[in-house]
């Protein structure tokens, strides 16, 4: 988005599924002049780098600091407190887990994050969904090439 300016925005999120394997979604919107295959290649390249090199201690600390602020901020509203209590009660039958969340996040180590990346971020564990406007498809070939790169 910032350096090469090929994407209008990027975000990554998980669904926080309680049971079974969760999904990590990386959501990227191309800038108007950027083709779908170029965008997909760039995202693939970044994931490959992450898979190869992992994340740094400083990145993990930043993520934990942001999660902690968000978590505490969310407890201000009665609705969100109720949601969280209900989630821990429904999924784990332990509403009191709400009190352990900041400690659990703080205990996450860079090694543990990198283990997960190494185990889960491989080529054979990904799928791409390309959403393109009807008239925005460069050509059937380009789309087929992008699809073949999965």
């Amino acid at each position: 988005v910032r350096e090469r300016q090929i994407a209008a925005d990027v975000s990554a999120f998980t669904f926080d599924l309680a049971k079974g394997t969760d999904l990590l979604v990386i959501d990227v919107t191309a800038r108007p002049e950027i083709g779908v295959s170029q965008l997909e290649e760039e995202v693939e390249r970044e994931i490959n780098l992450l898979h190869r090199d992992g994340v740094t201690e400083s990145e993990v600390r930043r993520a934990i600091a942001l999660i902690e602020t968000d978590l505490i901020a969310s407890l201000q509203s009665a609705g969100e407190r109720a949601d969280k209590l209900s989630m821990f009660a429904t999924y784990f039958n332990q509403p009191e887990l709400i009190n352990e969340q900041t400690d659990r996040y703080r205990a996450v180590t860079t090694e543990r994050v990198n283990e997960l990346i190494s185990e889960r971020f491989g080529q054979n564990n990904r799928a791409s969904l390309l959403y393109v406007p009807k008239e925005g498809i460069e050509s059937e070939n380009a789309l087929a090439a992008a699809a073949g790169a999965l």
Partner: protein, 449 residues
């Protein structure tokens, strides 16, 4: 086995907005502190009197661009390094500008508050506005405008403002600028707007959360030590309508299956003495799901999924607008019903049931709005921006409760003006133009999208 019983709700308690402390520092910066010590965090919100109405003519969009460009780096750190620094402190900086002001804010845990506010002060006091980032922000805004204009809702809103206000009014143009005005902005324009408007006399720092007025004063004094004194000269805002004769503007979108409708006229400034009766009147007319316009168009006639009306409260007189989207073939009947409802609320007193529904809703949702430090800080920002009295939030519910059916009728007859209504229809002109002329809602003017 579960043995506990669900607790019963207690009696309704009187609501008090958090107490706050208001002072002006020797530097000229106003500091408003609301100590709310529920959780170890606080929101810092800086308001600068540098909204779109402060823009020089021809520079529409410079207020939003300047607010966004603040985050792109200081003399010490570039934009990415700044974002990283804030993230290390468990927060992220947000900035933006609306009609009346520019706002920069963070929410941080108490133990990071001093450092995060110091960094925020640096961002606002020493921006470098890199040329490359300004161009990127402009390109992003131009892409947004393009997207907005291809979408009927965005197009209808933009055209409605254009047809409502006289061309000299800043309100006649999009608050974040048009393709032409944004395209022509330069780094020099950002620098000029910043130097003219970002000054102590037009700055208020609001801190809500786990903080004392003493700490707030110390933190703000330290963070804004490089802040220039004085206030900016503001351009005169006119809110004159483009015309006082009712007109229908059809913005042609070939083969559009729906008509996007806007009906309204110039409304009232936020500090108008009839604010409370007008709020209740609008709640009955179109402000709530159960209001007349929605019930009529959605429930009775099935023309739409939703229809609403609102007053856009600004320092100057913002628009009053009814907004909905309907299938093309029911454009005329839908407009007829909207006009009928505007005329009906002016003609006869609302029922006791409608009055209590609107008042109960407005009184009931009020305390829930101010649970978080962000919401409390934003509420205090509204007080500052609109120069409202300190007791405004404590007396809000009583003021709503005191509105009578007679006062609602008076607000409707005084502040709804059917002969001045401007109608914008974004849709397929071929399908609707001739019947719109026949329906006589006003002179019909055709425009291309």
């Amino acid at each position: 086995m579960v043995t506990s019983l669900r607790p019963k709700p207690g009696p309704t308690r009187r609501y008090r907005f958090p107490e706050f402390h208001d002072e002006i520092l020797p530097s000229g910066i106003r500091v408003v502190t609301a100590p709310v010590k529920k959780l170890p965090l606080a929101t810092v919100l800086v308001i600068i009197d540098a909204g779109s109405v402060s823009e020089p003519p021809g520079k529409e969009g410079i207020a939003a661009l300047t607010a966004a460009a603040l985050l792109e780096g200081t003399s010490e750190l570039d934009g990415a390094e700044l974002a990283e620094k804030f993230e290390q402190l468990g927060t992220s900086l947000e900035s933006g500008a609306d009609w009346d002001s520019a706002v920069v804010k963070i929410t941080a845990l108490s133990d990071q508050l001093e450092e995060a506010t110091r960094l925020l002060g640096e961002v606002i006091s020493s921006p470098v506005f890199p040329e490359r980032e300004i161009e990127r922000l402009k390109a992003e805004r131009l892409a947004e405008i393009l997207q907005l204009e291809t979408e009927p809702r965005g197009l209808a809103d933009e055209k409605f403002s254009e047809f409502l206000y006289s061309p000299e009014s800043r309100y006649s143009k999009p608050d974040e600028g048009s393709t032409e005005s944004v395209g022509a902005l330069s780094r020099g324009d950002v620098e000029d707007f910043y130097r003219a408007n970002y000054r102590a006399g037009g700055t208020t720092v609001i801190i809500a959360g786990d903080v004392s007025p003493e700490l707030a004063r110390k933190v703000v004094t330290g963070a804004f030590r490089k802040w220039p004194a004085g206030s900016a000269q503001k351009p005169q805002l006119t809110t004159a309508p483009r015309t006082r004769e009712k007109r229908v503007h059809v913005v042609h979108k070939p083969e559009a299956p729906q008509s996007e409708l806007r009906v309204g006229h110039v409304g009232l400034p936020r500090k108008h003495p009839d604010f409370f009766p007008t709020v209740v009147m609008n709640a009955v007319l179109g402000g709530l799901f159960g209001s007349r316009i929605n019930l009529n168009l959605r429930e009775v006639h099935g023309y739409t999924y939703g229809a609403s009306s609102y007053y856009d409260w600004r320092r100057g007189a913002g628009p009053f607008v009814v907004s909905t989207a309907v299938e093309s073939e029911v454009t005329i009947p839908a407009l007829t019903e909207i006009l009928l409802e505007i005329n009906r609320i002016r003609a006869e007193q609302i029922s006791d049931e409608e009055l209590s529904l609107a008042r109960d809703y407005l009184e009931g949702v009020f305390p829930i709005r101010y649970e978080t430090t962000r919401a409390i800080a934003s509420a205090l920002a509204t007080l500052v921006i609109h120069d409202l009295p300190a007791e405004y939030y404590d007396t809000y519910r009583a003021n709503i409760h005191d509105v009578s059916a007679e006062a609602v009728l008076k607000a409707a007859t005084s502040h709804l003006h059917p002969p001045e209504l401007q109608t914008v229809v974004v849709g397929d002109a071929k399908m609707i133009e001739s019947s719109l002329i026949e329906a006589n809602f006003g002179d019909v003017v055709l425009h291309n999208a």
